[in-house]
């Protein structure tokens, strides 16, 4: 039997990030995608075509919402106007759940439009726990927070990323979106090991999984979502599915986006891993999983 998701969120199956280049295929052909993930901000502050599209998609597919501007970790006050818009959109599209990233996107009223990193220390953790609880109260639902891809490490960090995010999830009582490509990218960039990372993840809080491709720059990897998923990331995904017993999985593709058919075929590569994970039923490995460095 699979590890039960703490919030009772279902395994929605295999889904795709909804992208405008695929709108016509999705609306005209209604392909057999289990669910779609929308980028929250693409459908806020607009009353034009984007909301017309998302209303139609939501009428035929389950929707989950994934934001990039919650700015959860910022030192600035919460943006309550933004949260009100997020809440209204979630009701409009009947979002199964919604989330964002463990990061900050700007401070002092500015917005970098990037997922900027946070130090992993007690002060930042307490700040994030407090903010996550506040946001969940306002939205009246648990957040599903994603591990970011990061490119710097702070000297002041006192714990690993997985431990930090795991404690955040447990103490703020939120869900997790495990991005297995981000695990790979951050492990490559910081010299961590994916299996060690996974060992600290509270899998009962994992609600959703992201798979994606990245760009290997030689000295570091960048989370570009511009290529197929690499073999090692599939391995991490397989392990995550085995430990959860099956979680809703989204393929993200944001740059150099191929045709819908190619994107859909890439998503289908996840099916055997998901099926094997379901068969394993969320059992932890009997002995430590491989701990080879990812480089």
């Amino acid at each position: 039997m699979a590890i039960r998701n703490r919030f009772g969120f279902p395994d929605l199956g295999l889904g795709l990030g909804l992208r405008s280049v695929h709108y016509s295929t999705i609306l005209e052909q209604r392909p057999p995608v289990d669910f779609f993930e929308i980028l929250t901000e693409n459908y806020l502050d607009t009353e034009g075509r984007p909301v017309w599209i998302v209303d139609q998609v939501a009428a035929h597919y389950p929707i989950v919402m994934h934001g990039v501007s919650l700015n959860l970790g910022t030192a600035d006050p919460l943006d309550r106007a933004y949260l009100a818009k997020v809440k209204a959109l979630a009701e409009r599209v009947k979002a199964r759940w919604l989330g964002d990233h463990v990061c900050f996107t700007g401070v002092a009223g500015k917005n970098s439009h990037d997922l900027l990193p946070l130090p992993y220390d007690e002060t930042t953790l307490r700040h994030l726990i407090r903010r996550t609880k506040q946001v969940q109260e306002i939205l009246e639902r648990p957040l599903v927070l994603e591990n970011p891809s990061t490119y710097v490490t702070f000297k002041q960090s006192t714990m690993g990323e997985a431990e930090f995010i795991g404690r955040l999830a447990n103490e703020a009582d939120c869900g997790l979106l495990l991005d297995v490509n981000n695990i790979y990218v951050s492990c490559r960039n910081h010299g961590w090991e994916p299996d060690e990372y996974l060992a600290h993840v509270p899998f009962d809080r994992v609600t959703q999984i992201h798979i994606a491709g990245h760009t290997d720059k030689g000295t570091h990897c960048v989370d570009t979502h511009s290529k197929p998923v690499i073999e090692r990331v599939w391995e991490i995904y397989a392990e995550a599915e085995r430990r959860t017993g099956g979680r809703a999985t989204i393929l993200e593709w944001d740059d150099d986006i191929p045709s819908f058919e190619v994107t859909f075929a890439e998503l289908q590569k996840a099916a055997p891993f998901k099926n094997a994970g379901k068969a394993a039923g969320g059992r932890a490995p009997k002995r430590p999983a491989r701990s080879k460095a990812v480089a």
Binding site: E41, L44, D45, T46, E47, G48, R49, P50, W52, S69, N71, G73, T74, A75, D76, P77, L78, D79, Y82, F104, T105, G106, V107, A108, G109, K110, N111, S112, H113, D114, L116, P119, T123, T124, R126, H127, R130, Q134, Y151, V152, T153, F154, K155, Q156, N189, H190, G191, G218, T219, H220, V222
Partner: protein, 296 residues
């Protein structure tokens, strides 16, 4: 009441953000006095806060964020201002965008609005030499391109059908108020910027045109933005309708403006020509969905 964030969190984030947003990149930011003054307590240099990796030093790692910051915003603005980008060429457009991004950092989660100040910035602020040479043309072209973005996201309103137009009794036309859709913008330009933009879209490598007054409507139909060329009289009439004038008053205003300085006879002739065209104009505008209500 919301508790304030710890001062150490605030200080670290302000320094990190300032370094990422520095126009010179992380290496220059690391040595910039203004950025160094933001270093949190006890840190004297970037390396006191960030660790190197096996293959990159701390400055190179920070530059992954710093370099992508400008490129991301530049790419967004290039999509919104493809005509301006073509008119300036890649290097000058990058210079303009670097100037804009530096002086007008984004303050909203909504990237759709980030280009809202670009037309005004080109018109009044930019010091890029290539902009200075063509400032008036570029500002008007940017205004047109910004309008396309605005109508794309404007509130939706169901347009009235042609039957509604045809149902107005002839004796009530003068009092009729034509309420326009929110996704409509009207412009009087000193340059033929619409033709230039279309040529850019058609990839016919247009050159910068000479001055020539043009009147343009930008509106949304079937969820897509459209640009339509208007005559001066059409522009004046639609502008009066947008201002809420009843049709009779709007027509009178058009005749007054269009025949300023004309003799009485010339004015009457212009009015007659205008009256002769009204039916076709209103049928076309209604078919294009420019009116959401006709109040009689």
């Amino acid at each position: 009441m919301t508790r304030a964030a710890p001062a150490s969190v605030d200080a670290l984030q302000r320094w990190f953000q300032a370094a990422v947003m520095h126009p010179g990149g992380a290496e220059v930011a690391a040595e910039d006095r203004a950025i160094r003054r933001l270093l949190p307590a006890r840190a004297k240099r970037l390396e006191d806060l960030l660790l190197p990796s096996a293959q990159m030093n701390a400055r190179e790692r920070l530059d992954v964020y710093a370099s992508s910051y400008f490129l991301r915003l530049r790419d967004v603005l290039k999509l919104d201002f493809a005509g301006v980008a073509h008119a300036l060429g890649d290097d000058a457009f990058d210079d303009l965008m670097r100037e804009y991004v530096t002086r007008r950092p984004s303050k909203s989660f909504n990237l759709n609005d980030y280009g809202a100040d670009v037309p005004g910035f080109i018109a009044r602020k930019s010091r890029v030499r290539a902009v200075d040479r063509r400032r008036a043309f570029l500002a008007q072209l940017a205004t047109l391109e910004r309008a396309v973005e605005e109508v794309f996201h404007a509130p939706q309103a169901a347009p009235v059908a042609l039957e509604r137009l045809q149902s107005i009794p002839p004796d009530r036309w003068s009092d009729a108020v034509f309420v326009t859709i929110p996704a409509l913008r009207l412009f009087e330009f000193a340059f033929p910027v619409n033709g230039y933009l279309q040529a850019v879209i058609d990839q016919t490598a247009p050159s910068i045109p000479a001055r020539m007054p043009t009147w343009i409507a930008v509106y949304r139909k079937h969820w897509k933005p459209w640009r339509a060329r208007l005559s001066r009289e059409q522009y004046l009439l639609l502008r009066s309708l947008v201002a809420g004038k009843p049709l009779g008053a709007a027509i009178a205003a058009v005749v007054r403006t269009a025949s300023k300085g004309d003799s009485q006879a010339a004015r009457e002739q212009k009015a007659e020509v205008l009256f002769g065209q009204l039916g076709a104009w209103f049928r076309e505008w209604t078919a294009e969905g420019l009116f959401r209500e006709i109040r009689v």
